[in-house]
């Protein structure tokens, strides 16, 4: 059985001291260990940015994509080999801006992959420009008088795109994060976990303390029914006053993409096992 150490590489993390990425990194390692997964059974794809800089710090098969493109190669890998546990990671810049269409289409297709969105409300690696999740009016390097656009809540985009599992975690609460990561990975179908994760260097507004004062846990609300999609939409929208964490929505009857393909549903083999020369008999007759 794999231990947490097996998920380390020889590369030491170089995020800023106190960065939320440490908690995500540690939580993910713990999650994979708890799920009894061996490093070679896991594929993690990364985007460009501070989250992507974790690509060589976690010992699994991995692909660090172009900016915005963390999701499509994850889908391709899962389609090719459904035995793999496939996790796609990226920031609010990559997943919510450059590649937001991929999030929407992957959600509606219900591919059996998990997306972790590191939301720090900033383009951090490029030293602090505002993103689509930055609150309207907040100043940033490319909008010194405040960003004129409205912000968008990632969980909303996932929900309206028919994601069958939507959750929100917090970089300051690794214990909850591990629980959410496990649920997300175990979910059959597309799962989306937004991790609010303060950038300690470039975001002096949405700090750990700022979040701690505003965050509450849905699992502590006895009457919250996470099978209610409309409720999830309502609860998830507040990113200012009362910020919900936990499983916002889960479709327990979700049918993943591969099971929606009648010709692949009961396949005993995987696409990766099927590469060989195929006879054209049965097809060439159409040309005769």
């Amino acid at each position: 059985m794999a231990q947490v150490n097996d998920y380390n590489t020889r590369v030491k993390p170089n995020w800023c001291p106190g960065c939320g990425n440490f908690a995500v990194w540690t939580s993910l390692k713990q999650t994979l260990v708890d799920l009894n997964l061996e490093p070679h059974q896991v594929v993690v794809t990364y985007d460009i940015g501070c989250s992507g800089n974790g690509a060589d710090k976690l010992n699994t098969y991995a692909l660090k994509s172009l900016h915005g493109r963390t999701i499509p190669p994850a889908v391709g890998a899962k389609l090719a080999n459904p035995d793999l546990t496939v996790i796609s990671t990226g920031g609010d810049g990559g997943i919510m801006e450059e590649g937001v269409n991929h999030l929407m289409w992957a959600a509606r297709s219900n591919y059996d992959i998990t997306v972790f969105l590191h939301n720090n409300q900033r383009f951090a690696l490029t030293t602090g420009q505002q993103t689509v999740t930055t609150k309207k009016g907040e100043p940033g390097k490319t909008a010194p008088r405040g960003i004129p656009e409205d912000s968008i809540v990632p969980a909303h985009v996932a929900l309206i795109s028919k994601a069958s599992f939507v959750a929100r975690g917090f970089g300051g609460d690794p214990a909850q994060l591990v629980t959410l990561m496990k649920s997300a990975i175990k979910h059959k179908g597309f799962s989306f976990l937004e991790i609010v994760q303060p950038c300690v260097t470039l975001n002096k507004i949405n700090t750990f303390d700022w979040f701690r004062e505003r965050i509450y846990k849905l699992e502590e609300k006895k009457d919250y029914d996470n099978s209610n999609w409309h409720k999830a939409l309502e609860v998830s929208q507040d990113m200012e006053e009362n910020i919900a964490t936990g499983i916002l929505y889960e479709d327990k009857h979700s049918i993943p993409y591969s099971d929606r393909l009648s010709h692949r549903k009961d396949s005993k083999t995987k696409l990766v096992d099927e590469v060989k020369a195929y006879s054209i008999d049965g097809y060439i007759e159409e040309f005769v």
Binding site: H40, L63, P72, L79, A80, W105, V272, F287
Partner: protein, 575 residues
């Protein structure tokens, strides 16, 4: 009459031009004729002018002619647009109700062109048919000009209409009455007879590309619809249930290529396809492939650009672009099949080359080869071999000590593992990386990795074959050409050789990186003429860049149509 017959059907999109053309194509094939069919249509669903042309010959051909023996007009516009294409002593076949202007009538008389006026309305009315059945009457009438063997046509009408038309009997009687009308009339006839043939197949480049993709063991095909590449996606998607493949219509071209990359990274064979505009969107991903060294086959079926251009027409305009597409430098291979036999062969080779060199292989098609109907001998799939290159088995991987996916090697090719395998973990990293794939900004490693990747070019150049010389070996004039235009050029060269004119052609289907040995030899003794379906002579430019040989004599065409054989004969005879 002559052994070579060209017929063109014209009408409004939606009038059944393509259906009539396709029925005639299939029936002529069964009759044992060598034919080649090509269609022109606008980027519209209804309305707009479209044509379908069939050239018939006694030997295998891959071209159409500008001038036709029979013009079949399903509307008056066709007559106005195309009457000057009818050869002297040719035939115009149309509805007896169509008006022909005095000017055109005089022209037809002057050229001794017979007009076959078919009483279409009368026949349809008699059979209580629908207006859309006009083209069945016309199809029967055309067939009667070509041959007296009615049953060959009847079989195809049954085959093609049985699925979509409940009024099959009415269609059949309309066809028969059209046929009888002409056979009883005093019209010039071609009297084609039945020829025994065996194992001849009919297919478009797109259909064959789809078939070959499957036969080569590709299990994941991703694309976003874009004319004229969509035929590959549709061929595979419609048969996916039987093929067992996953055929994915993605939300855009970037997703299509990235998904295929993910599939290939995981270890299956995958491919994607698009046209020039879609390839432009895929460009960053080509560069990504160069960096992470994941095999991939990418189809680009070209159409005239720039921008949206003319979506349903043809051009060889993307060579320059795809030979450089992607930022930074990395090795790539570009293949451009010249007929469906080459499509079948090169597609399977492309997958092996991709696996062997762990890079991107671009297959350049265009509307002409993608959507024209080629006849050839049945393919032999025993020629298809799957070679996965340096892909390790678990057993081999177990023997590796401290496996490095991106190990520096003399060939530039490193051994590859598949996710899920023990002992093979790596990071496919778009950042510059070390042997494990871990990011590095150590400039010494950067330099070594760059050299490793680029060393693959040497192996690629060694393995790619030289171009093929067709035609009179002793000729002192050589046409330099590539890709789909091999068809019309080869037909023209053969015909010139038959006339005793000494000319040959050097055809490239492995176009990049460029093989230069044969070319340099020929350049010393021969006059070279580049013939290309684009504005600048992009292949000639590539030759100049690679060899310094400047082919100044360039025959180029960029109006959206391919080279027509007779047009080429005129041009080349004057050279």
């Amino acid at each position: 009459m002559t052994n070579q017959i060209a017929l063109k059907i014209g009408g409004a999109a939606g009038q059944g031009v393509k259906t009539s053309g396709y029925i005639l194509t299939k029936a002529l094939k069964d009759l044992g004729q060598w034919i080649f069919s090509y269609s022109e249509y606008p980027s519209l669903i209804r309305g707009g002018h479209s044509t379908y042309q069939i050239n018939i010959d006694t030997k295998k051909i891959h071209s159409v002619t500008k001038r036709v023996d029979i013009l079949i007009a399903l509307n008056e516009e066709t007559i106005e647009k195309h009457y000057e294409e009818i050869k002297e002593n040719g035939i115009l076949l149309c509805d007896d109700g169509f008006k022909i202007s005095e000017k055109i009538d005089n022209y037809l008389k002057e050229k001794k062109i017979s007009i076959v006026k078919v009483t279409v309305d009368e026949i349809v009315k008699k059979n209580q048919g629908l207006p859309v059945m006009n083209n069945s009457v016309i199809t029967g009438a055309v067939w009667s000009l070509l041959t007296s063997e009615y049953t060959y046509l009847e079989d195809k009408v049954k085959e093609i209409f049985s699925e979509k038309d409940k009024n099959i009997q009415t269609n059949l009687s309309c066809t028969k009455d059209g046929f009888d009308f002409v056979s009883k009339g005093d019209f010039p006839k071609f009297n084609l007879s039945v020829k025994e043939t065996k194992d001849i197949i009919l297919g478009t480049g797109n259909e064959v590309a789809g078939l070959a993709t499957y036969a080569s063991g590709c299990r994941l095909y991703c694309a976003y619809p874009m004319t004229p590449s969509t035929g590959i996606l549709q061929y595979l998607a419609q048969r996916a249930y039987k093929l067992g493949m996953i055929v994915k219509q993605a939300e855009d071209e970037i997703t299509a290529i990235q998904m295929s990359i993910g599939g290939s990274f995981a270890g299956t064979r995958s491919a994607c396809g698009t046209s020039g505009g879609g390839l432009a969107l895929m460009t960053e991903s080509l560069s990504f492939i160069g960096m992470i060294e994941t095999p991939l086959v990418v189809f680009d079926s070209q159409r005239p650009g720039p921008a949206t251009g003319t979506p349903t027409w043809t051009e060889q305009g993307d060579l320059d672009f795809v030979s450089k597409a992607g930022h930074g430098e990395f090795p790539r291979i570009i293949l451009a099949p010249g007929d469906i036999d080459e499509v079948f062969k090169l597609v399977s080779e492309a997958f092996n080359l991709a696996d062997k060199f762990q890079t991107v292989i671009i297959i350049l098609l265009d509307k002409y080869i993608s959507e024209s109907w080629y006849l050839t001998e049945k393919f032999d799939d025993s020629d298809i071999k799957v070679d996965r290159g340096e892909l390790l088995t678990q057993e081999e991987l177990d023997k590796q000590k401290d496996f490095e996916r991106y190990k520096i090697t003399d060939s530039g090719i490193s051994k590859r593992s598949m996710p899920g395998m023990k002992n093979g973990i790596f990071l496919a990293n778009s950042d510059e990386h070390d042997g494990k794939g871990y990011s590095t900004e150590e400039l010494g490693i950067r330099k070594e990795m760059m050299e490793k990747r680029m060393r693959k070019l040497k192996g690629i150049k060694l393995i790619l074959p030289e171009p093929t010389l067709y035609g009179d070996e002793n000729a002192k004039t050589t046409i330099i050409c590539w890709g789909s235009q091999k068809g019309p050029i080869l037909d023209a060269v053969n015909e010139l050789n038959e006339k005793g004119i000494k000319i040959n052609m050097l055809n490239y289907s492995y176009v990049f990186p460029l093989k230069i040995e044969k070319l340099e030899k020929l350049a010393k003794t021969n006059k070279l003429i580049a013939v290309e379906n684009n504005f600048s002579g992009q292949f000639a430019d590539l030759i100049r860049k690679e060899t310094g040989i400047d082919i100044s004599d360039r025959v180029v065409k960029y109006d959206g149509t391919p080279f027509f054989k007779d047009e080429l004969l005129d041009i080349l005879e004057s050279k």
